[in-house]
Symmetry: C2
């Protein structure tokens, strides 16, 4: 059985939990506390991921795959979550790279600072810039979803999974999703997809 | 003929020029000065890329594809630059997302600050942190390439193109590549690949 090297507070790890759940693929998890450096040990860096980050999928033969969106790609190949059409695939890729470059570094990091670090952390000084850039990313999503049910080709795909993960918890990072009605409707649609699993075991309690 | 919305100083745009050149695909370019906001005009944001960034590939029918690594994926599909094997594809994806999340935001941004902004820019204060994180990324590449000719499966792929772009110009961002002998050998191998094209028209003059 595959192993997901996991963290409950990581939207990136949640992407893998959500897709594997929707595909009905069994997996076990090993949870790490990233704030205690548990992903920076010699064993983790040498065997699991030299970049010291979760999520990582470990296969029974010891092979390891890091980077949340590479994990989505691997498991979605050949399924409805990643259609065969070359152009749609390219558009999905565009959104996956947009997420990691222009969305996650702001939306996810604001959540991390406000919920995982002490209230007096000096990193709170980063919040205004994170909000400026995070709101820009959320606005791009809002505009994209105004006339679309899902991000690419009208169908739910790993593009939606990748963007949903941190977007639907953006308020934990101090973002006001009330500004984005199309985004809120899309969040509702994703939450109604077959096999949907919530990010937190008792969702609502952390948001 | 396809159009590459381009910038000569962008390693991300260079990735597209390099792959298209190696594939022998003809394309025309439109150059933008990103420091003058030329990718933030109403036309660019509305028609080319809502995220206001180059590179973008524009097709004759008006479709546009942004994100350098999505462009690499689209054009490499079905070629030797992106092998059919699912596991190798996943590994390539891991390196593409590593590049955009853990490498480019430091290695590329240091180059931008030191070569594109005025010498007295306050952004020079970012350089120490950019170097710390950029050196960490370069060390991961060094370790990966110590016993390998190329990043994935022993064969040149879009993973090498994506990482080569800013790595081989890292010294423009103040990084000392002398610390990384395996990286330097790999740079030499990439530069000898069939159809290789240099980043700058008169390469050497800018580095």
């Amino acid at each position: 059985m595959i192993t997901l090297h996991d963290n409950v507070d990581s939207g990136n790890a949640y992407k893998a939990r959500l897709l594997l759940g929707q595909l009905g693929l069994p997996f076990r998890t090993i949870a790490y506390d990233v704030t205690r450096g548990e992903t920076r040990t010699e064993d983790f860096l040498g065997r699991i991921n030299a970049n010291g980050r979760i999520p990582v999928i470990e296969f029974d033969d010891g092979r390891c795959l890091a980077e949340s969106n590479a994990i989505l790609y691997y498991f979605a190949l050949g399924t409805n979550f990643f259609p065969d059409d070359r152009w749609r695939q390219a558009e999905i890729m565009q959104w996956l790279f947009f997420e990691q470059y222009s969305h996650e570094p702001f939306v996810a990091v604001a959540k991390f600072i406000l919920t995982m670090l002490p209230p007096d952390t000096p990193r709170r000084a980063e919040i205004p810039l994170l909000h400026e850039k995070g709101y820009a990313a959320l606005q791009i999503l809002e505009d994209r979803l105004k006339n679309r049910d899902f991000l690419v080709g009208g169908e739910y795909s790993i593009a939606d999974i990748a963007l949903f993960a941190y977007t639907h918890k953006a308020e934990m990072g101090g973002f006001d999703l009330g500004r984005f009605p199309a985004l809120q409707r899309w969040i509702g649609r994703v939450e109604k997809m077959p096999g949907f699993v919530a990010m937190y075991p008792k969702d609502g309690s952390r948001s």
